[in-house]
Symmetry: C2
Amino acid sequence: MKAKVHVTLKPGVLDPQGKAVAHALDALGFDDVKDVRQGKYLEIDIDDTDSSAAEDRVQDMCRKLLANTVIENYRVEIDASGET
Amino acid sequence: MKAKVHVTLKPGVLDPQGKAVAHALDALGFDDVKDVRQGKYLEIDIDDTDSSAAEDRVQDMCRKLLANTVIENYRVEIDASGET
């Protein structure tokens, strides 16, 4: 089963990586870009066959390793079909 | 208008960052993790008011800066509501 995880900075937390991308886009002529926020995207392939058990497990992974919950939000989606 | 961009490594391209995450999860006791692939997720706030023009523009940004199209795929979604 595939789990898709988005980890994003909480609103208000400074995002220097996003700012760098925004400046680089501006330098390339994309001057209509107002703001860029960069996050992480993970696709996790797990053995669980039950999607609600898998979701609980991935939520647990987020809290323990994947996200810094002080400054980051995370979102878990389970894709039971196994497609990416 | 908000554009959401996913940049992921093409299948078959080695992903050392994903492997490191998979090993760290295994070390934390998540031994049901078979594979992890890590990508980037960007939220871009642009001035365009027309969603198809905005999508073209963001596709162009992906080709020119955000994705290395030799080894990475990208996917653009336009969210006209401006919600994250």
